[in-house]
Amino acid sequence: MKNMVYLKDVVTLQFNEGQCSGCGMCMVVCPHAVFGMNSGRVQMENKDDCMECGACSMNCPTGAISVQSGVGCAAAVINSALGREGSCCCVIESKNDSSPGKNTTCC
């Protein structure tokens, strides 16, 4: 079966070809084959398959990829909207300010 896809035209993934060195790490770490190689150049081929996990931008040594990474989890969005720490592991805040003491209970 073809992979399931979520909503169209919504992800924040951006790829700047000019900064790409062609190392291909994005193609290795992406779990949804968003990137592909075409005659030696990396291309963003399946943008709507992106789930914004952030693996590509994390592993891009030249900073050619940007994405507002996060976990696509409705319970986490509700918890953060209500200001609760919540019963879910998924935290919406960027991982830079992850407070280690956060009491979380999912995943």
């Binding site: 079966m1 992979n3 399931m4 896809v5 979520y6 909503l7 169209k8 919504v10 992800v11 924040t12 790490m25 290795v28 770490v29 992406c30 779990p31 949804h32 084959a33 398959d49 992106c50 789930m51 914004e52 996990c53 952030g54 693996a55 590509c56 994390m58 592993n59 040594p61 507002q68 990474s69 996060g70 976990v71 696509g72 989890c73 409705a74 319970a75 986490a76 969005v77 509700i78 019963s87 879910c88 592991c89 998924c90 935290v91 919406i92 991982k95 830079n96 992850s98 979380t104 209970t105 999912c106 995943c107």
Partner: protein, 348 residues
């Protein structure tokens, strides 16, 4: 050190390292079952550090994993009859992918754990094999720069490791993709059910007893009619949103999970009407039926929406976009349904 799966110790230049086997025993399987049902899932951990699988030497590969016991078990059972070093990071008992997203399975923790374990004295090579799904937390080029170890991202699933290792650390395109097949959806259902049932044990008796109040015959007659119908519909909503929508996910129309949940909820509300009147011979009114055609789909949509967190392909931007219409819909549907239901019981 005092962990039941440790079978002995091996001597290394960096000190004593606990030895483990790739054979799982019934406490390991029982632990998996409990965690899948949400029992003790947040404290199902392994001590972080280096472990020896089989009789590894200084040439053996180093595989890195999280200190969630289920992650650790999936890795070691995939490596039967092999020699390897297993480096367990401290991810606070969270699985690889979620921990990588949070940053606890991250570059800093990996660097710290490699240094702390004295791995550079244990192996003569400089290569770490990481699960691909740790990519959101670990920047391979930063690890290389920091401690000189090359990070190789292995396959998404541990079960593909033998083929990956034998192919000279090469993954096929399929090994690099995270799918969401039926089996994976099924094992995630119990946790959804358990978290919903915590609310249900409160809500079900309330609706059953409220059904007893109001017009027509005596309290228990009413409860066994309208209250029972309410309980059946609430259970139908749970089945629709937390069981049937996850199972039928690829085939239900639409992309938003809430939409799939609404469709399943309407179907189940219809099934409940037929079942309750035909087989249980319940005497329910039109307004009451209408009420549940609001409540059941709204509740089912909410439960289905929450399954986005378990799925492997939803983006945060997408979930936010879905919630902008889905949450108001669920609230309005729920309130309208409640008004209709109370109207059918106490007004008309």
């Amino acid at each position: 050190m005092n962990q039941p799966f440790v079978t002995g110790f091996v001597q290394t230049p960096a000190g004593i390292v606990p030895k483990i086997s790739s054979d799982l025993h019934w406490p390991d399987h029982w632990g998996t079952i409990k965690a899948r049902w949400g029992v003790g899932r947040m404290h199902y951990t392994v001590d972080p550090g280096l472990y020896a699988l089989g009789e590894p030497n200084d040439q053996s590969p180093v595989l890195v994993t999280a200190n969630y016991k289920m992650s650790f078990d999936r890795l070691r059972e995939a490596l039967s009859n092999r020699k390897a070093w297993i480096l367990v990071l401290d991810t606070k008992g969270i699985n690889v992918w979620c921990a990588a997203g949070k940053g606890t399975f991250g570059t800093d923790e990996l660097v710290r754990r490699v240094e702390f374990s004295g791995l550079d004295q244990v192996v003569s090579h400089r290569r770490l094999i990481l699960p691909q799904l740790s990519g959101p937390g670990v920047a391979a080029y930063k690890v290389k720069k920091s401690i000189g170890f090359n990070v190789v991202f292995g396959p998404v699933q541990a079960v593909d490791l033998p083929v990956f290792l034998d192919a000279g650390l090469k993954a096929t395109p399929d090994m690099r993709q995270k799918t969401f097949p039926m089996g994976e959806r099924l094992v995630l259902i119990p946790v959804e059910l358990v978290s919903a049932l915590k609310w249900y044990v409160l809500i079900l008796p309330v609706f059953f007893l409220l059904g007893g109040l109001g017009a027509s015959s005596g309290f228990w007659n009413n409860a066994l009619n309208h209250g029972l119908f309410a309980v059946l519909n609430l259970l139908a909503a749970l089945a629709a949103g937390a069981v049937l929508t996850p199972i039928l996910l690829p085939w239900l129309p639409g992309r938003a999970f809430s939409q799939k949940g609404v469709i399943m909820g309407v179907i189940m509300a219809g099934v409940m009407v037929v079942f309750s009147t035909t087989y249980l011979h319940l005497n329910v009114g039109l307004l009451e039926i209408l009420a549940w055609f609001f409540l059941t789909p709204a509740l089912s949509a909410y439960l289905a929406m929450n399954f986005t967190g378990s799925s492997t392909f939803t983006s945060l931007s997408g979930v936010r976009k879905e919630m902008r219409w889905a949450v108001p819909f669920e609230i309005i549907g729920g309130v309208a349904g409640l008004i209709l239901w109370f109207g059918s019981r106490f007004v008309v």
